[in-house]
């Protein structure tokens, strides 16, 4: 099992959160400029925070210092540390490390005492926090000959594995959709680090046959995990995590409902953060993050206020595919500058069809988790025929009274790039709203820099 070394990335996150807490605790600090700029703030920081402070995006610090963002930013960051603590405690206890794909709900891994590290979160969180994102990892794997058109979220983490910056996997769990790029980089990881790869096939059809097959796949995963760990899945432990997961899903669905309100009560930078914690459904820290989010959004709804300035006319956007993560304050800027709010996207939209897991017995829990596997964001939209994706977003555009449909297309997602015209055509035909499409790399700012994102949006709003 894992020797628990290679925790550089985790340690950086921990210091980053200490840093965030430090600045949030400073009375009267509302932006770095208020205190005389980044250099002045650096001088008052404890010594051990300074290197990380140099890497942290200054705009992100300014963003979390805003009153409207403080509470959820604090919850987001502190729950990241709780996740790190949780994984490290398991590793210190010589428990195995499993890298898993983000649309996989992790209750089974949790119940088996496996440290669940989401492969995509490692790169994603670094991209969100630091000026240089996960570029070192991305560049490292590309230096091995792996091309730039592979998905950067796996490339960043793969590079970190080569750089001994994250724990090595004892095994990996991957669902087979949506993409070849992620599949292949999981297989690369499996071969390179001699870690077994459990592939969960996601059936192409969303029907009884598909669900039955998915149930069989979850059972097969359990058998393989039991073989790898030598432990048996305990029903009561699983039930406990499923119950926490159900509460979490309930919060997510309630937040989605509240976002129907005009003006939108929730800020857009939460969506990438949501994705990170959707990988931790079943954990207390995942639940805590979404509960905080729900309470914050509910308070705004009850107070009848939105997230945009009162003098702005709201422009309600649906992001028909992904967010970007390398510039979270961009969403804050959209709200403040253009009154453009963010409803839903493919990576965080949890269809109400997902329901809750019936915790009556082992069989019902497996059935529920299999159903969730078929309905987790992105997995749901991408595993089969495109009508699910198109149908979801036509409905969202209508029900959430969307004014414009934005598609920031992640360059690595070939399945999406072969679908985007059918999707936008249908949106125009059925809802009659303008659409904007642009290219980006969700995790690597070098592809479409933040300044270019803003230029694109300025131009779009000037045009429509």
């Amino acid at each position: 099992m894992n020797n628990g070394k290679d925790r550089t990335v985790f340690n950086n996150w921990r210091v980053t959160v200490d840093l965030a807490n430090f600045v949030l605790e400073q009375d009267g600090l509302t932006s770095l400029d208020d205190w005389g700029g980044k250099e002045v703030v650096r001088e008052i920081l404890p010594e051990h925070m300074r290197n990380v402070f140099d890497r942290v995006q200054p705009d992100l610090i300014d963003c979390i210092l805003k009153d409207r963002n403080r509470r959820t930013a604090s919850s987001f960051l502190n729950n990241v540390v709780k996740f790190v603590d949780y994984c490290e405690a398991l590793m210190d206890d010589n428990r195995p490390v499993c890298y898993h794909y983000f649309p996989i709900s992790v209750e089974i891994l949790l119940a088996m005492g496996i440290a669940p590290i989401c492969y995509e979160v490692v790169c994603g969180l670094d991209s969100a926090l630091y000026i240089d994102g996960a570029e070192a990892g991305i560049d490292r794997i590309e230096a091995e000959g792996y091309p730039d058109h592979l998905c950067s979220t796996q490339k960043g983490t793969a590079g970190y594995l080569l750089m001994d910056m994250v724990p090595k996997p004892d095994f990996l769990v991957k669902s087979a959709t949506p993409c070849d790029s992620s599949n292949k980089l999981y297989e690369w990881t499996s071969v390179r680090f001699d870690a077994p790869l459990i592939m969960l096939e996601t059936p192409y059809y969303r029907n009884e046959r598909g669900h039955r097959f998915a149930v069989g796949e979850v059972k097969r995963m359990i058998r393989e995990l039991e073989k790898l760990t030598g432990a048996q899945l305990d029903e009561d432990r699983l039930r406990g995590f499923c119950e926490v997961g159900n509460e979490t899903v309930d919060y997510i669905l309630k937040i989605q409902e509240l976002k129907r309100k005009k003006p939108c009560p929730d800020t857009g930078w939460h969506r990438p953060a949501d994705t990170i914690f959707m990988t931790q459904i079943g954990t207390p820290f995942g639940k805590d993050y979404f509960r905080t989010l729900y309470e914050t959004v509910k308070e705004r709804v009850d107070a009848g206020v939105g997230i945009i300035p009162e003098d702005k006319k709201e422009r309600r956007l649906a992001w028909g595919y992904t967010w970007e993560v390398y510039d979270l304050p961009f969403f804050d800027w959209l709200e403040q500058e253009h009154g453009a709010t963010y409803s839903l996207d493919t990576l965080t939209y949890l269809s109400p069809e997902v329901g809750l897991v019936d915790t009556t017995n082992m069989e019902t829990m497996i059935e529920g988790l299999a159903w969730r596997l078929l309905n987790m964001p992105m997995g749901r939209q991408t595993m089969g025929f495109s009508d699910v994706w198109i149908g979801d977003f036509v409905r969202i555009a209508k029900e959430y009274k969307i004014d414009a449909f934005v598609i920031g297309g992640h360059m690595a997602c070939k399945h999406f790039w072969a679908l985007n015209k059918l999707l936008t055509d249908k949106i125009k035909e059925e809802v009659g709203i303008p659409t904007l499409r642009f290219e980006m790399d969700m995790f690597d700012k070098r592809f479409t820099p933040p300044s270019e994102l803003k230029r694109i949006m300025n131009e779009f709003f000037a045009t429509v």
């Binding site: 792996y146 071969v191 096939e201």
Partner: protein, 374 residues
């Protein structure tokens, strides 16, 4: 024209005399896009299977409306040919979730090309018992829908007959590959590829008869040993001879491949004793795997090493079409391990349309200099 010359022709889809004859006699043609679609099903139903290709496609302006520049040019060229009405002879189309770009062709083709019969067969991404059962059901459902929509029969006996016909092709093509293992090679790689590609565009019984005659001609040819290096080519789908001609134009002799349209398709034999549907499912599912099959890297590596050693190659060229993630990762992994096994390997990126031939020639030339006379 001799049989060999006939098989060298690989007729263009719009001028294919076999298709014209077939259609002229009331026959119907079903296109398919991936080597995991068992052609025997289509054949046994009395329909003509046609492996979709985009030979000769030189631009993708129509396809680019639907598929972005981040999509591979193989998928885009196929779509271009469809949107250019050059696949109007198809009565049906069967796609497979082989890769994410080809699987998305389904929706676009369905929306824009209006082929009457559209079907998607899905195959799991790894090889295991439950996956085999899923794939068997998929093939069964495909057969049922095909026979129902076209009002044709596809009995057990029909399937057994088709399996025999296709096994005969495989046996003959393996003979062709054996002839290329000699030092004095009687047929170039590009010529052999033309023969192989012809299998996908004409009635299989006709093809088998032509190939039997052609093999006699090949055996009687004088061998060629004046090449600089013996090569194996692997990687992305190759549907035309131009790439092979370019490589051999630099003095290489391609004596083996690990292509999905080549050896990987013909190195298997479908059991003629078992239940035909079971036999087809098993043979296609467990055959030498495409890189889209996970947890099969070691078997792909072994297959490549075995093929390289059996044909006594001096080097391996793993060509990949830009934006093909499956071959991009697999090729890079294979290159490292083949080099470690003492087999010089070059990974070469290309588009489906061979536009940057100068760059490709330079790369092949440099590789040949490295390996020639080792």
């Amino acid at each position: 024209m001799t049989a060999l010359e006939e098989l060298f022709r690989v007729p263009h889809r719009t001028e294919n005399p076999y298709i014209k004859d077939w259609k002229g006699n009331g026959g119907r043609v079903i296109g398919f896009t991936c080597s995991y679609v068992p052609e025997e099903i289509i054949h046994a139903a009395g329909l003509l299977p046609y492996r979709i290709e985009a030979r000769g496609c030189r631009e993708t302006d129509l396809a680019d409306v639907y598929m972005h520049r981040f999509n591979c040019t193989y998928a885009r060229c196929i779509l271009q040919e469809g949107l250019s009405d050059r696949y109007d002879f198809l009565d049906g189309m069967c796609l497979l979730n082989g890769c994410e770009q080809i699987r998305r062709l389904y929706e676009i083709w369905d929306a824009e090309h209006k082929t009457d019969y559209m079907y998607m067969v899905t195959i799991p991404h790894s090889v295991y018992d439950e996956g085999l059962a899923w794939y068997r059901d998929e093939i069964f459902n495909f057969k049922e829908k095909l026979t129902s929509d076209f009002a044709v029969r596809c009995s057990k006996k029909d399937l057994q007959n088709s399996i025999q016909v296709y096994n005969e092709t495989r046996r003959l093509i393996r003979e062709l590959y054996e002839l290329r293992k000699t030092k004095d090679v009687p047929i170039s790689g590009s010529e052999a590829l033309r023969i192989v590609l012809s299998a996908y565009v004409m009635p299989r019984e006709t093809y088998n008869e032509l190939l039997k005659l052609a093999l006699h001609e090949v055996r009687s040819r004088e061998g060629n040993s004046s090449y600089k290096a013996r090569l194996l080519v692997g990687g992305s789908a190759v549907d035309g001879p131009e790439l092979f001609e370019l490589i051999e134009g630099m003095g290489g002799m391609i004596v083996a491949d690990t292509l999905c349209c080549g050896s990987r398709q013909f190195d298997m034999t479908v059991s003629e004793d078992a239940d035909p549907l079971d036999a087809l499912t098993r043979a296609y599912y467990v055959k030498n795997p495409c890189p889209r099959m996970m947890n099969e890297y070691k078997s792909r590596l072994k297959y490549t090493i075995d093929a390289a050693q059996a044909a006594s190659v001096d080097g391996v060229i793993l060509q990949k079409i830009v934006f093909c993630d499956n071959h991009a990762v697999d090729g890079t992994m294979l290159a490292d391990d083949l080099e470690a096994a003492g087999i010089p390997t070059m990974v070469m990126e290309r588009d489906h349309m061979l536009t940057d031939t100068g760059r490709l020639r330079t790369r092949v030339e440099a590789f040949m200099e490295r390996i020639a006379g080792r």
